[in-house]
């Protein structure tokens, strides 16, 4: 090869600089791609907060920005969970809000006026760029090949498994938590490799940040001890492991206890006990190592055996004792549901009712990870081949995360990083071997002749791909796979994950986009035209959105901390008006909001969620609300003529179909979600009146009537207004009272 001017750039120390520069440029490009691929929803719709939980986070962030950190910390929110209220400051992970708040104030300090909403919307894409960088760092620790890190960064940047939770507007804890997860792991690997206190402390610092940001920190809390435990079991104890683990555990635990919501959990909750146990164990191992240098083998063996037995016995006994006496909290329900997928459905319907807590379907893996999922085992296998400390980590992480991802859809998120690492390891190995332009044969031959006298093993082993055919076939197919991956990611992101779900899009016959904006229409109506403290009752799904967009107090919201309260709402929705009305009055409800998709065929409406309301209510009042009553004799869930009386009389049914029939010619009313023809007559609502219905009928608002001026029943009053003859009422039994049950 003739020395060209390129050689000056590509070889020697300037070559290293060139490569470094290229790497930086590639990483920046990857970060840019990661950010921009998440902007579909902003471009297609607008800069808006998505879905449900983000609305709460957004509201909390606004509160933080407006009132300062300390009042945020002490925030008691009386506009949710009326009349209970919520100690919001102590029951949330503040990391996300504080991050946005800090960014906001930094920009303000630089006198760049950026709306806090835009910061919140763009936080997740921004952090996904950082995640790609962290992924590069993490993977570079695993492999010598420089391409592995870059590939992993690119995968992480665009894989749908991560994009699903980090598109612009998806302002949820996961937005920053995945970055923190990956970066904490990177720091941990660094710490284990170097055995340095500094890296260990940094790990603890980012672990603390992670704790403040996401409940999923427990994953780190258990994975790192498990890594250490496996290392110990493999006989790989070293001072490096000791230093890094003890530093991380001590500082990290202290840090995590600063978050009010976490508090003393790290030393009291079973979920955290493994970290504590391994901390104790590593002390013992260190002690044993120390003693081993001073004692002859036999005595040492005896000592070791007795010590192991003693410690195990003491530790186990202590754990049982503390668990029984209640000092250590038992495993939480969500934890059990991780191991037994049927657990939640039986014991905690409220957890089971959330779609993202359902077990993952197989296609979801391919949908979210595409070809990474079949590269993943190859990458893990390659880790087994080297099996240094960090590779052990990859193996453990893969096994655990694969299991969890199979149990719960949302935990796909924790699987994604390690899939990217493993896939990048595998793919970089393929590319490094097959993408070498020069054939290895000539080199080895010349070397063999010139260095005949060198040691055998010192000679270059004759390894390499000779055939251009195999090279080109492999490289082409890999390129194809990569291209398909990009196409798939773009398609998935654009079609599946970029809908704000507050705004629905549909296509008009002429192909132009038609935006269905019913939610905001109704919420804004509430915000503008109702008293500031009008209480809104709705199913808990919409609590956060009402709080965020309508700015009105709600009875229940997505922070499902009080099951009884939610069951009360469920009962009000699923009971007859005569039962519901007192409940509404007792809870000062002014408006009731229901979501009805019958006109448009919007399947996520309240009637489809209705059975969950019934189930949750039944959990508290099994005598009054019975799921069986809502099914016909043949076990069907029907809303048409043949619906059960319980169904037809339930408040939810009445509110959904109130006045709906009048839109259609007589007897033609159709419910497009359930695909059935409805009864001729609209259900009669007595205690509520329609206050507002959005353009496509998705959101319907009802005002709770005040007590009748003349002291009549509402049903009588309505009948009177309609000019019906008053039925000879059966004799009144005593004074009219509010029914309380």
């Amino acid at each position: 090869m003739a020395p060209s001017s390129l050689d000056v750039v590509l070889k020697g120390s300037s070559g290293r600089n060139t490569r470094g520069l290229l790497r930086v440029i590639i990483l920046c490009t990857i970060a840019a791609a990661a950010v921009s691929s998440r902007l579909f929803s902003v471009i297609r719709f607008e800069s808006i907060i998505h879905e449900f939980d983000p609305w709460f986070n957004f509201r909390a962030t606004k509160y933080l920005v407006e009132n300062g950190f300390y009042s945020f910390w002490d925030w008691f929110d009386d506009r949710t969970w009326h009349p209970l209220g919520r100690v919001t400051g102590g029951t949330l992970y503040p990391g996300l809000m504080v991050t946005s708040g800090v960014i906001y104030h930094i920009l303000r300090l630089l006198t760049i006026p950026v709306d806090i909403r835009n910061i919140c919307v763009l936080l997740a894409p921004g952090f996904s760029g950082l995640t790609a960088l962290a992924m590069y760092l993490l993977t570079s620790e695993m492999s010598d090949s420089p391409s592995a890190g870059l590939l992993a960064a690119a995968f992480m940047g665009i894989t749908p498994g991560y994009i699903s939770r980090s598109v612009a507007g998806s302002y949820d804890n996961e937005a920053i938590a995945i970055f923190l997860l990956v970066f904490t792991f990177y720091l941990w690997i660094k710490a284990v490799k170097n055995g340095s206190i500094m890296w260990g402390a940094l790990t603890a610092l980012f672990y603390g940040y992670m704790v403040s940001a996401w409940g999923g920190y427990v994953f780190i809390t258990n994975l790192i001890p498990l890594h250490v435990f496996v290392l110990l079991c493999m006989g790989r104890y070293s001072t490096r492991v000791y230093i890094s683990y003890t530093t991380w555990y001590a500082l990290g635990t202290l840090g995590s206890m600063q978050i009010p919501f976490v508090g003393f959990l790290p030393i009291r909750n079973s979920d955290h006990m493994s970290a504590l146990g391994v901390f104790g164990l590593i002390q013992l191992v260190a002690f044993a190592e120390f003693i081993r240098g001073y004692l002859p083998g036999k005595q040492f063996q005896k000592l070791l055996t007795s010590m192991v037995l003693l410690t195990f016995g003491l530790g186990f006994g202590g754990l049982v004792l503390l668990s029984v006496s209640g000092v250590i909290a038992p495993w939480s329900g969500r934890f059990y549901s991780l191991w037994d997928t049927g657990y939640a459905k039986i014991h905690i319907p409220i957890i089971a009712s959330v779609s993202e807590h359902q077990p993952t379907a197989w296609p979801a893996f391919f949908f979210d990870l595409n070809f990474l999922i079949w590269l993943f085992p190859a990458g893990v296998f390659m880790c087994f081949q080297k099996l240094k400390d960090e590779h052990v980590f990859v193996v453990i992480y893969s096994v655990l995360a694969s299991y969890f991802a199979g149990v719960m859809v949302r935990l796909m998120l924790t699987l994604t990083p390690i899939v990217c690492v493993a896939a990048a390891l595998a793919l970089s190995c393929i590319l490094d071997n097959f993408l070498v332009a020069s054939t290895p044969s000539t080199e080895t031959k010349t070397q063999a002749t010139t260095e005949d006298k060198s040691l055998r093993s010192a000679r270059n082993p004759v390894v390499g791909i000779y055939s251009w055919v195999s090279k080109s076939v492999v490289v082409t197919s890999v390129t194809l796979y990569l291209l398909m991956f990009v196409a798939h990611c773009t398609w998935v992101t654009s079609n599946a994950y970029s809908s704000p779900s507050v705004v629905l899009a549909s296509k008009l016959p002429d192909g132009s986009q038609f935006i269905i904006d019913d939610y905001r229409e109704a919420y804004y109506w509430l915000r503008q035209n109702t008293p500031d403290n009008a209480k809104i009752m709705s199913w808990w799904d919409y609590g956060y959105q009402i709080g965020g967009m309508a700015d009105r107090p709600t009875l229940v919201d997505n922070n499902t901390w009080n099951n009884t309260h939610i069951a009360t709402v469920g009962k009000a929705m699923s009971s007859r008006e005569e039962v519901s009305y007192p409940i509404l009055r007792q809870h000062d409800v002014d408006y009731v909001l229901v979501v009805f998709g019958g006109l448009l065929g919007y399947s996520g409406d309240d009637l489809n969620k209705f059975l969950w309301m019934v189930r949750i209510a039944e959990g508290i009042w099994p005598d009054e609300v019975k799921e069986r009553d809502f099914f016909t004799a043949r076990g069907e869930y029907r809303v048409d003529e043949e619906a059960t009386p319980a169904m037809k009389n339930s408040l939810m049914y009445k509110m959904s179909y109130h006045n709906y029939q009048s839109l259609f010619p007589a007897g033609q009313a159709m419910d497009r979600v359930r695909g059935t023809r409805l009864p001729k007559e609209s259900p009669q609502l007595n205690t509520l009146e329609e206050a507002f219905t959005s353009e496509n009928w998705i959101v319907r608002l009802y005002k709770v009537k005040d007590l009748d001026n003349l002291g009549r029943d509402h049903s009588n009053a309505v009948a009177f207004d309609k000019g019906l003859k008053r039925k000879r009422a059966t004799k009144r039994k005593g004074p009219r009272v509010l029914r309380t049950e």
Partner: protein, 773 residues
């Protein structure tokens, strides 16, 4: 950064508030019991009341005569105190010469005795006694129409009532007067008919125009009232903007005029008797029936307006549509609120757009002048047939940073422009800090109460000075800011916060030979003089605080050695023996070198034949590799202290392999030559040994000649027969062979190959230096 730039630029900044015409409207305080002096007489008065829009627009033409002896110039116009604040756009002109402009008007505080509040019109020239002047008085009264019935069904017609006095309120006696009412339609179900005020029917009806009067009121005392109420159909929304904030932002750099308007809107029409019914509304919409609700607002935009947006508190309102201007015609922004705004309902929103600045901004008088003239509409607002009333309007003109000498002016035409006189507009200057401003942008804020959409056509002219230095302030600020950041970063990078490495006693800096891939073998290796050795490791790096990784190794063989063919030693006993040797080695080593750092040292006993390979896959091999790995990770050196020259192995390949793998780790042996005399440690540089065996250096190379220990070590290794394992163990049992193969699977074949291959270089007992290649 801000502090720095602020202090520098404060020196350059001219005084902000030089010479302006800012006004704060004040009201005259009248004494209690004040009565306007009866110096005038209204000879004829005609009042035109226009009810076509959702507010009342009145024009009064009155012939005024001075009945006093002195020339007079203050004409008082009374309003009751409740109405006074809702009177907007008050203007008085000479009806005969409207082009002369409006007369100065003072506002007064309420007079406590009779609850009247006055506009005091100052005639430009005092009116001489007995002479007359015709005044054209025009104003609008906001929120004076009330719906009756107050609540209606959703599809019902809406009716408004208006109450006024048949006698026009005046401070002076009026000879004759009449009032003309103009209704939006002929549907006027109720109106007051007067008795005895005039002959004939009163009012006279002519289409949608009703006329009360003329009345002969020369004898009627001023202030006498005769209430009249009319009720008429108005099935249109009564659009009331409680507050309009309008921001105009001038950017010289961007050549852009950005407009943003924030509306707090309310429909003051009849409220709904029942709640809103979507079904009814769908039918109403389908039939395009008139309604009292706001369906849509049409907002004409000036030609050249781009990037319009329509948002409210919770984001974009997706129902809007923009029809951009074509050529000179105005664009149209069709704003459809999220929901129809019925009576009593509110809706707040904001809209904004951009314009090219060039069509609004001129340099005043000459190209080099620093003075600019900005001419923009005072308000724009939607254009609706039913009209819009604004209770309060705040217009904010954000001028470029450093603009000074700000003046404003409202253009006057021959007709009323719907605005009060400039002196009744509350104006103030402030500074607004945004987008990396240092001083803040000069902001002119104008506040007016009670406006109607008649003011749409009024123009606001703002003049200001803005020099080149002002324009360059921001680039300079950003430059200075970035420079500060870079300098700070550079400075921080210069600070050495590392804790200095402790000097290890008794150990000389290790001569390091590093094998770099691609380095030509013929290049002389002299690391003491080669300065540009790229991978030379800085041992004083802060990571090396714990000191080197020290591994003490003692080795023995428990295979049947050729020397001890019948030896049978229990391997445990052998380990014990070797451990005792290590204890001695540790003690001796410490005597010689002291404690090497704080890192705990390691001990390893190896049972392995002398010349056999230590495979990297074997337990021992991994152990050694881990030690080196640790040294690499903590950027320190790794020292293997060997008990005896064959302390771990005498196989060259083992060293070569380890060296190759860890070519970046300073890697040396301290050989405790206990069997020779004197008992001393030889410091051997493993990399040099490696380099020698790879034929990269010759034995006579200065790097090796100068290093006695290394040279000695090489010689000893050379002297030992290598890779001839089979020769010395001709009777290897099958079990031993298996063990060996398992032990060293990867290289098991090599031994045999080496034997078969050509002649070995005669190395035994040879002191001759190997020639370098």
């Amino acid at each position: 950064m801000r502090f720095f730039t602020a202090t520098v630029l404060a020196l350059l900044a001219p005084c902000l508030c030089a010479a302006t015409n800012l006004t704060t409207p004040s009201r005259l305080d009248l004494p209690s019991g004040f009565k306007p002096p009866q110096v005038f007489k209204n000879t004829n008065l005609v009042r035109n009341t226009n009810l076509e829009k959702s507010y009342v627009r009145e024009t009064i033409n009155v012939v005024v005569e001075n009945v006093d002896k002195q020339p007079q110039n203050d004409y008082y116009i009374p309003f009751s105190a409740e109405v006074f604040d809702r009177v907007g756009g008050f203007e008085v002109r000479d009806k005969k010469a409207p082009e002369k402009g409006r007369f100065d008007v003072d506002y007064t505080e309420a007079v406590s005795s009779d609850g009247n509040q006055y506009f005091v019109v100052h005639l430009p020239e005092p009116l001489a006694p007995k002479s007359q002047i015709t005044l054209g008085i025009s104003y609008s009264v906001l929120s004076s129409l009330s719906p009756l019935p107050a609540t209606i069904q959703q599809a019902d017609k809406q009716y408004l009532t208006y109450s006024f006095s048949a006698y026009t309120p005046s401070a002076y006696t009026t000879d004759t007067q009449k009032t003309k009412l103009k209704f939006p339609s002929t549907n006027v179900p109720d109106y007051t008919t007067t008795d005895g005020l005039k002959s004939g029917s009163d009012p006279e009806r002519k289409g949608a125009t009703y006329t009360y009067g003329p009345y002969d009121t020369a004898k009627v005392a001023p202030g006498t009232e005769h209430p009249i109420t009319v009720r008429y159909e108005f099935t249109k929304p009564v659009i009331t903007v409680n507050l309009l904030e309008r921001d105009l932002e001038v950017s010289h750099w961007g050549g852009n005029l950005a407009t943003e308007e924030r509306y707090w809107l309310r429909n003051n029409g009849s409220q709904l008797t029942n709640q809103f019914s979507r079904v009814d509304w769908t039918y109403t919409n389908y039939q395009k029936a008139p309604t009292s609700a706001v369906r849509e607002l049409t907002y004409p935009l000036l030609p050249g307006s781009v990037d319009p947006y329509f948002i409210d508190d919770i984001g974009n309102v997706s129902t809007s549509r923009y029809r951009p201007s074509v050529g000179k015609s105005a664009g149209n922004l069709e704003l459809k609120p999220r929901y129809p705004i019925f009576g009593g309902w509110n809706y707040s929103f904001r809209i904004g757009w951009n314009n090219d600045l060039a069509s609004f901004l001129r340099r005043a008088a000459g190209v080099d002048s620093d003075s600019y003239v900005l001419k923009v509409p005072f308000i724009e607002g939607p254009k609706m047939a039913e009209g819009i009333q604004y209770e309060r309007v705040v217009v904010r003109v954000v001028l470029p940073e450093g603009a000074h000498n700000v003046r404003f002016e409202i253009l006057e035409g021959t007709n009323s422009n719907g605005l009060p006189g400039a002196e009744h507009i509350h104006a103030q200057l402030s500074s607004l800090k945004t987008y990396m401003d240092t001083l803040g942008r000069t902001t002119l804020t104008l506040e007016v109460d009670s406006l109607t959409d008649e003011a749409r056509d009024s123009k606001l002219v703002v003049t200001y000075d803005h020099s080149m230095i002002d324009a360059l302030r921001k680039p300079f600020t950003i430059f200075a800011g970035l420079l500060t950041v870079f300098v700070a970063a550079w400075g921080v990078g210069k600070i050495d916060v590392s804790i200095k490495k402790r000097r290890v006693q008794g150990i000389s800096p290790i001569d390091l030979y590093v094998h770099i891939a691609g380095q030509t073998p013929s290049s002389p290796v002299d690391d003491n003089t080669t300065q540009d050795s790229p991978s030379k490791i800085n041992l004083s790096s802060p990571r090396n605080r714990l000191g080197p990784v020290v591994v003490f190794i003692a080795r023995a063989s428990n295979l049947k050695d050729h020397n001890y063919p019948n030896a049978e030693i229990n391997s445990n006993q052998m380990h014990e023996y070797l451990r005792s040797l290590l204890v001695i080695t540790v003690a001796e080593h410490r005597k010689q070198f002291g404690l090497l750092g704080l890192r705990p040292h390691k001990m390893q006993t190896i049972i392995q034949p002398a010349h056999s390979r230590v495979s990297s896959l074997s337990r021992v091999g991994k152990y050694l590799g881990m030690a080196l790995e640790e040294a690499r990770a903590s950027k320190t050196e790794c020292i293997f202290v060997l008990h005896g020259w064959d302390g771990w192995t005498t196989d060259k390949m083992t060293i070569a392999e380890l060296c190759q793998q860890f070519c970046d780790v300073p890697f040396s042996f301290h050989v405790y030559a206990n069997r020779g005399t004197p008992c001393e440690f030889y410091e051997v540089n493993a990399h040099k040994v490696n380099a020698y065996f790879r034929h990269m250096v010759a034995l006579n190379d200065p790097a090796i000649v100068g290093d006695r220990s290394t040279a000695l070590y090489i010689r000893i290794l050379e002297a030992l027969p290598t890779l001839q394992y089979a020769k010395y163990y001709p009777v290897l049992s099958e079990a031993e062979k298996d063990a060996l193969a398992k032990y060293d699977k990867r290289f098991a074949g090599i031994y045999e190959k080496d034997e078969i291959e050509g002649p070995k270089p005669e190395v035994a007992k040879s002191d001759a230096p190997k020639p370098g290649v």
